[in-house]
Symmetry: C2
Subunit: 160 residues, 2 copies
C-alpha cells in the first residue's frame, strides 16, 4: 500500500469500528430495552439508533453514492425530537435498515480512489469547494464518525 | 494542495474541531459545576476532562513527539475510576494542562508529512506493523478523535 492508500484505509477502518460497536450495542436489545432513556429525560436508545440510521442514510447522496434508501426515517428521527412521534419502527425493522444502509456505504467506500475522497461532496458548490478544499468526502466521513462516537458514548450511560 | 495533503488536513481538522468543542464545554464551568455527574452515579465532568487530558498527553510519546508532559495525571484519571482518588487538580490547573498538551500535539502534527502519518506509532513492533500497516500514526489520531467525541457526547447529558 502507498501512504495515501494506508491513510484512506485507516479512516475507513475507524468508521467501520464505530459502526460495528454501535451495531453491537443496539442489536442485542429487545424492543422493550430500547425504550430506556440514556439519562433521565433524555433520548431513548431506540431514538438514537433510528437517528444514526437516518443520518447514515443521508450520507449516500451527500457522497454521490446514490439516492437515500430510507428518507422516511427523518420525520421520526431527525426532524422530530424523541417522543414527539408515535409508532416508531420495531427493533427488527431498524436493524434491517441499519445493516442495509451501512452495507451500501461500505460498498461505495470500497470503490472510492484517494482523489474521490479528496473531492467535493454534493452539498458544496464548486466555488465554495475551491475556497475550502476541506469540504471533501473524507471530511464527511470523519464528521459522521465523530457523530457516531458521540452517541455511542451516550448509550454507555443508559441504565442496564 | 495534493489529494493526500487534503486528506491529512481533513483528519487534523476533525481532531481540532473536537478538541475545541470539548474545550468550550469544560472551560466555561466552575470547579463546583465540574462536580456534576454526566448521569446518575456516572463519571463527573471533572473526571472526564482530566481523563481526556491524560489520554491526549499519552499521545505525545505514542506518536513520537517527545515525552509526556503530565504522566502524573494517570493515577487520578486513567488508572483509578472517578471518586476513587481525593484531591484532584482544580479547574484552572486542568485547563492549563489541557491547553498545554493539545498545543504540543498540534505543533507536532504540523510537522508530520503524509508518510509520517502513514508510519508506525511507537507501541507497535516492526514485525507487527509489517503485518498490519493500519497500526499507523493516523489511526492513533482517528481513534483518539472517536474517544474524544464519545466523551463529549456524555458531557451533553449532564444536568445543567
Amino acid at each position: 500500500m502507498t501512504s495515501e492508500q494506508t491513510i484512506i484505509a485507516s479512516a475507513v477502518q475507524s468508521w467501520k469500528q464505530n459502526v460495528e460497536r454501535a451495531g453491537k450495542v443496539f442489536s442485542g436489545l429487545t424492543d422493550q430495552q430500547l425504550q430506556t432513556e440514556v439519562a433521565p429525560g433524555r433520548n431513548r436508545l431506540v431514538y438514537l439508533w433510528g437517528h444514526l440510521t437516518a443520518v447514515h442514510d443521508a450520507m449516500l447522496p451527500l457522497l454521490g453514492l446514490g439516492d437515500r434508501l430510507h428518507p422516511e426515517l427523518d420525520a421520526a428521527f431527525v426532524t422530530a425530537a424523541d417522543k414527539a412521534v408515535d409508532g416508531l419502527p420495531s427493533a427488527a425493522q431498524i436493524k434491517r435498515y441499519w445493516d442495509e444502509v451501512n452495507g451500501h456505504l461500505m460498498a461505495g467506500f470500497g470503490k472510492f480512489t484517494t482523489s474521490d475522497w479528496a473531492g467535493k461532496h454534493t452539498a458544496v458548490s464548486d466555488e465554495d469547494f475551491a475556497a475550502n478544499p476541506l469540504r471533501n468526502r473524507l471530511s464527511v466521513l470523519l464528521s459522521r464518525t465523530s457523530h457516531l462516537a458521540y452517541h455511542i458514548g451516550q448509550t454507555a450511560l443508559a441504565p442496564k
